[in-house]
Homo-oligomer: 222 residues x 4
């Protein structure tokens, strides 16, 4: 008659699986939604030239004024790609969530959703005023630090994971997550001397993450 | 030879599972989509300063005029986070849907999707005119009351749940859902005396929900 | 050694299940995405009043000019809800897709994604010029007819279904899908005599679909 | 007692399945999100006529000026449909992802997310200036070539597939993917002679892909 006792071990198991399945699924859906929208909204920074500009100088010439916005679009899209892949790969290990993890995600997404503003600032004032570049880099540093904190919190002990993370893998991922914020911090400092070199550092960062590397070797072994 | 008869008990089971699985899955996808978009659209309220303002006062000074919009962005993003987590956690118990539940969700999302307007109003006129703050709080009260109604309707009896909700848990969740609308109502009243205190109440609400609490203890026990 | 022969029955089964699972899942994800975005974009039609208007007449008075846009928002949101629930319920039966079904969906979504334009037209010119109302209704008629065509094509024979649709249910759904386009057609005609009555018909349509009805009784029996 | 050794074969299996399941699921979610948003944002190119234009010429006449934008909307929506169906069908075979595949997807989505800009350019200047049409076609060529590269990379060997792709099918798909970029390249060349014929080629492309064809016969056999 003691239904809770009879039922307990099996339903415990079932409940735990269901709980973990739902929760990270919806975090990932929300995150994918925010990334998809931010990536797509970046295009609004590239405006179709107005009729006046086209009448005065012709379409070809009017389109060249759009090039900085196009480069800013490509740069920000690639960085969003780096952050999305990083977030994505973490959930290879993370299968459960708690309130703290949900909120780290929400605040991470708050930094991501701010990027269309920072990218707009960069496209418009980035070459003249180092403040625009610094604001952009600060935004990316906040995003990167939150992604690190996400990994650090989730892998601290095993209650959110479905398999142990080897300490070697954990450290390797920490290094890979922290390199971009460190480079963006460097870029912000360098901009005080030379905006051009600072921009170059920003361009290099995503390129470091597009090509296969040691982390992929881990995935391949699995 | 009577295939429907032989098949019945098993296919009944299969149908029920399939029905429930699909239906709440798509509600959650639609809701996650609306939340992701609303969160991301909030950024449009933070405009890159125009060339005129920058030429007149410099970029640093022009950027300070963006601060109220940035604070309104952070505030609204956090509140959307609270509402999303609340909606999310309800579906830990709710596994089936009927037309009424679908429509409570749709009308809840209608209130959520209105927030970029209310947040824009708050950012632009919130410090001068209490009406902007009241409109913002009314929007949040409507959202909160619909979230309560969602929980109340779904847990009234067990036909939409996959496990019984203990009365103690049910009441605890009701209290937690109703606190924000009550505080927003209080803030709207207080704004008649002091806008600053009313804004402070608005700032405090999300902070109450970010940190782990008694509801999480329930999830941890499961 | 003849691996394809040994394997055939089992892998056939596996392939079919996988095929059906992927395909309708992504149609539903795309559709939910479009619905979520269209619902959310409707809010852009409700503009925060400009500083000039507020300075001249005060915020309260400036906000009253937003009321038609708010009503248009509510109306369009509810109709999108009706169409989403209708689309959603069809996939209770439809479990496989072919190219034709994909394209009926894409063209259906093309009509849905046009609604922010039509709703904007209605909000701005709907009370003065019947053409705005007719354009809005034509948009909704196209959406409704495509939803009917979707149901008709998918249930024509059983190759896309996972359970047979009883002829009685099929007919009931056809009637329920065709009522809104017929009423919108009526509203377009009536607008030649009275815009007010035409608007009233538009308001009544979603109300017919929010409350539980005979279709729900079918779902409940399953 | 050696838990890793005992566990290995089974957990290997489990890990592989989980890895593949998660990874393509999130690529597809991100892609569906970007497609849904781009499709929906296209509508912003169709503006509600301003009060001045309506006062001067009446709503009917003001609306006719919107027709090129409406046609550009339909055209771009259909092409996005073609690309979405192509992307969708590839994942019938692709079940695993690696870093390279993730990045091919991200860069593919970068081209897709640029379409609202190119479509706006086409709608505004397409009939007067061939450069607008060429820019639009270059955007579509980049998208098409990336979709080809996606297929080529994923089917090169079997490590990302869950079933072998018959060489005959692989070639057929290659041909079907490459036809649109070749036609868009042709249209760009033809635009030097006649913009009208170039536009006609653009209109014909999606029509080639809406109706059932030989690829569907393959799916039907499976």
């Amino acid at each position: 008659m003691n239904e809770p006792i009879v039922d307990s071990s099996q339903s415990e198991e079932a409940r735990r699986r269901r709980f973990s399945a739902i929760t990270t699924a919806r975090i990932e859906t929300l995150a994918d939604g925010v990334f998809a929208i931010v990536m797509t909204l970046l295009v609004f920074d590239i405006r179709v030239p107005g009729a006046d500009a086209v009448a005065a100088q012709g379409l070809a010439s009017a389109l060249t004024s759009v090039i900085p916005n196009l480069l800013s679009y490509i740069l920000s899209f690639l960085i969003l790609g780096v952050l999305w892949v990083g977030h994505h790969n973490q959930f290879f290990y993370i299968k459960r969530a708690d309130r703290t993890l949900l909120w780290i995600n929400i605040i991470f997404l708050m930094a991501i959703a701010l990027l269309p503003f920072s990218a707009g600032l960069l496209a418009r004032y980035g070459r003249e005023d180092r403040l625009a570049l610094i604001a952009y880099d600060v935004n990316l540093i906040i995003g990167g630090v939150l992604l690190f904190f996400h990994w650090w919190y989730a892998t601290r002990d095993n209650h959110l994971l479905n398999q142990e993370v080897e300490p070697r893998v954990r450290r390797l991922v920490v290094v890979r997550i922290l390199i971009p914020p460190i480079l963006y911090f460097t870029a912000a400092l360098v901009s005080l001397l030379s905006i051009d070199i600072a921009i170059l550092i920003n361009v290099v960062v995503p390129l470091l993450y597009i090509f296969p590397n040691r982390v992929d070797a881990i995935f391949r072994r699995i």
